[in-house]
Symmetry: C2
Subunit: 201 residues, 2 copies
């Protein structure tokens, strides 16, 4: 069969999405084409809008509208002088949706991972230290996942912030082990935020 | 948190893809944004190209380039006077890739399904009958899936074509039961094409 280059291109682009293998990408591509009048225009528009109108907050690193940078949370004077340190922008949304937290955020942009080649230099730690001073933060709540690399990252962070006049806490255990923050149900996450405890307890 | 409307829109558009639920769509949206310089432009381009350059062949219903309609297979004089009837355009690609078949195709565009409200009127049966005459077809090979609805569709088709001067075959059993054509490995599919048998055997 003569190859359909636009189809092949679409399959390749789709297979770069997370959890999407070659076969799923092929199915998606066909489904998209079969329902192209209903699916395609909206998808192209949404992706284009996302590219043009979404960015990452230059202060905390969470997702924000391009025209609103720093983000609404960073600009909200009513937020507590607490910074919740998370791995990625998805965790910010999960914690906001869970409710019960009224502070700010700081997205590390990853976790220490010798396997993946992520060292301290790849994480936004220096920016966090600067914020502790400029925003007169009284507490840093570490809200990383519960796997081994995230635990190592939490302890590295605690070491980096030791000696500063700031209380360091972490989310209460209560998170199911080995799971990711964005997959935790709202109640569990909300309770863990309320029961956060000092790192060395 | 103030809602990020472009993000919400993207999540909704992604969750309309097959096998993608709300949570997967959220993960995809974040991954897309995190890697937007590497993923986004290619994905938007591929979708736009697919919309502009791909269409369905007006004769057989398989996927083709917009500027090449009827498709390359329909225009290929070297193809045997056999028509392989499939449910969707994805099956055409699977059979072509399996090799061993040198005829043409006809995409039904679905299968009889009282549950989904698909009746004979929704399938491209009349167009198939017209092709049998105009293309002097000597054999119709029914290559539908092996589930109950597809079997019913195959028997309905055989009834519709009975009395015409054309041999009606189906893919050899050898396909694993309950599976879909596009998930079958090439060898199994290729053998099934070679061993195709009359419908009433």
């Amino acid at each position: 069969m003569p190859s359909l280059q636009p189809l092949e291109q679409l399959v390749k682009a789709l297979s770069r999405l997370p959890t999407v293998g070659r076969r799923s990408a092929e199915r998606m591509a066909h489904k998209i084409m079969e329902q192209r009048d209903s699916i395609l225009p909206g998808l192209i528009l949404a992706l284009t809008e996302a590219r043009n109108r979404l960015t990452f907050c230059s202060r905390c690193g969470s997702m924000t509208l391009t025209e609103r940078n720093p983000c609404a949370i960073c600009q909200d004077d009513q937020r507590d002088a607490v910074i919740c340190v998370v791995e990625d922008a998805a965790a910010v949304i999960a914690i906001e949706q869970a409710g019960g937290y009224r502070g700010r955020y700081h997205v590390l942009g990853g976790r220490l991972s010798p396997m993946a080649g992520t060292g301290p230099g790849e994480l936004r730690v220096r920016a966090l230290r600067e914020r502790l001073v400029s925003e007169q933060v009284r507490e840093v709540c570490i809200a990383l996942n519960t796997d081994v690399e995230s635990d190592a990252t939490a302890h590295y962070l605690a070491g980096e912030l030791a000696g500063l006049d700031v209380r360091i806490t972490r989310l209460a255990f209560g998170l199911p082990a080995g799971s990711g923050i964005e997959f935790t149900d709202a109640l569990t996450l909300s309770r863990a935020i309320r029961a956060r405890a000092p790192l060395d307890e």
